[in-house]
Amino acid sequence: MFTADEWEVVRLSLKVSAVAVGLTLPVAFALAWLLARGRFHGKVLVDALVHLPLVLPPVVTGWLLLIMFGANGPAGRWLSEWLGLTFMFRWTGAALAAAVMALPLMVRAMRLSIEAVDKRLEDAAATLGASPARVFATITLPLAVPGLLAGAVLGFARSIGEFGATITFVSNIPGETRTLPLAIYGALQVPGGEAQVTRLSLIAVALSLAALVVSEVLVRRSGQGRGNSGSGCHVL
C-alpha cells in the first residue's frame, strides 16, 4: 500500500521528532522549573523568549535559525568547528527546527504541572528531614510527572507536524529533511499526486491520534491510585 519512499518519510519524521523531543526535554524542564519557581529579574523576558516561536510566523523562526545556525552563522560555525555538527540541508537541522517549535508547548505543560505541585507537601517533607534535593526527587518530580509526560507527547506531536520553520531553514530534501508535512506539500505540487497526499495524510492522522492516546494513557497510569490525574495535563 505504501511505497518505500513513503516509509522513508515516516521513518525520518519519527527520527527527527524523537531526537527533537529527547534533546528538548531537559531544557524545557529546566526552563519550566525556572519560570514556575524562580524569582529573578528578567523573568518576563525569559518567558517571552520561550514563547516566541509559538506566536512568530514559522517562516521567521526558520529564517532566524538560518542566520544563527547556518554555515556562516555564529552558532552554526562554532558547532561545526568544535563538534563537527552541521545543520544545513540535513536532518539535524530539521530536528533543531522541530525542537525550537515544540519548546513553548512543552514548557507550558511542564510549568503548569510544577505549579500544581502543592508546596505545603514540600514543607512537610522538609520537616521530616528531607534535603532540598531529596524533596525535589521524592515529592516534586513524581507529582509533576503526568504533566512532564503530557508535555513530551505534545512536543512530539508538534514536531511531527512542523513545516514552516523546517522548510525555510533546511529546505525540502528527500531522505534528509523531507518529513511528513513537507512530503505532503511536495506531493500536492505534482500533478496526479492526490493518492500520495491521501496516504501520507492518513499516516499523519494516525500518528497524531496515537500521540494523544499515549499521552492520555500515560497520564492516567501515573495518576493511578492517587486520583490526581487532573493537574496540569490538559493544557490545550
Partner: protein
C-alpha cells in the same frame, strides 16, 4: 525536655509575637484565628523565619537572631502534624510512615513502624493510598509519620479541625495517650476552648 520560644515576626500589617517557656507535656497555643498561632508553630519548625528572637528545644538552640543561628528545617527534628494532614498522595501509607524514619539517624529513632501502627491502630491501612482514607485515618497516619521521624518535639496545628465529632473524640484520645505515654513535649495550636481545657498541661494565650 523543654521549649523556650521568643519570636517576633512582621507579616504585612500584623506583628506576631510569642514569648513562653514550657517544661514538657502538652503546651497549648490558644487564641482567635488570625492571632498568628500557626506562624509561631512554623517559626519553631523553621518554615518561617522570625525577624528576631530565639527558639530552643531540649536545651539545643534552633534559632537565635543575636548569635546568627538558624538550623535548617530538616535538621530541627520537629514532628509536625498539619491541620490538613499533608500526606504524600503518590505514596502508600507505609511509605508515608517510613518517609522520615528512613531519613533519621538510626540511633536517634525511638519508635519502630510496628510500635507506631499498634499505638495508632493503623496496621490494617499500610497498603492503602492516602486518597482512600477517611479524615480520622489520615490524621492518625499523619501523626504516625511525624512520630516515626524521630522528633524531639511534636508540633500539632489544629489536628482536629477538619474532623467530624466522632473522629474528633477518637483523635483526642490518641493525643491524650501521646501526652501521657510518650516523654515528648507537644506544642499544640487550637482556637477551641474545650479542646484546650481537656488536653493542655499549660496554656499560652496569643492575642490577635
Amino acid at each position: 525536655m523543654s521549649f523556650e520560644v521568643r519570636v517576633e515576626r512582621r507579616l504585612g500589617e500584623r506583628m506576631i509575637r510569642a514569648d513562653f517557656a514550657a517544661p514538657g507535656g502538652l503546651t497549648a497555643l490558644f487564641g482567635p484565628s488570625g492571632a498568628g498561632k500557626t506562624s509561631v508553630l512554623n517559626m519553631v519548625a523553621g518554615l518561617l523565619k522570625p525577624d528576631e528572637g530565639r527558639v530552643a528545644v531540649g536545651g539545643e538552640v534552633l534559632f537565635d537572631s543575636g548569635a546568627g543561628i538558624d538550623v535548617p528545617v530538616r535538621h530541627r527534628r520537629s514532628g509536625y502534624v498539619f491541620q490538613d494532614g499533608r500526606l504524600f498522595l503518590h505514596r502508600r501509607v507505609r511509605d508515608n510512615l517510613l518517609y522520615g524514619w528512613k531519613l533519621a539517624e538510626p540511633e536517634a529513632r525511638w519508635m519502630t513502624l510496628e510500635q507506631a501502627t499498634d499505638f495508632l491502630g493503623i496496621g490494617h491501612l499500610l497498603e492503602r493510598w492516602p486518597r482512600t482514607l477517611s479524615g480520622g485515618e489520615a490524621q492518625r497516619v499523619a501523626i504516625g509519620r511525624a512520630l516515626l521521624s524521630a522528633p524531639r518535639v511534636l508540633l500539632m496545628d489544629e489536628p482536629l479541625a477538619s474532623l467530624d465529632a466522632p473522629r474528633r473524640e477518637e483523635i483526642m484520645q490518641v493525643i491524650e495517650r501521646l501526652r501521657d505515654e510518650l516523654a515528648l513535649p507537644i506544642l499544640y495550636v487550637s482556637h477551641d476552648r474545650s479542646e484546650v481545657d481537656r488536653l493542655a498541661s499549660q496554656v499560652i494565650e496569643l492575642i490577635g
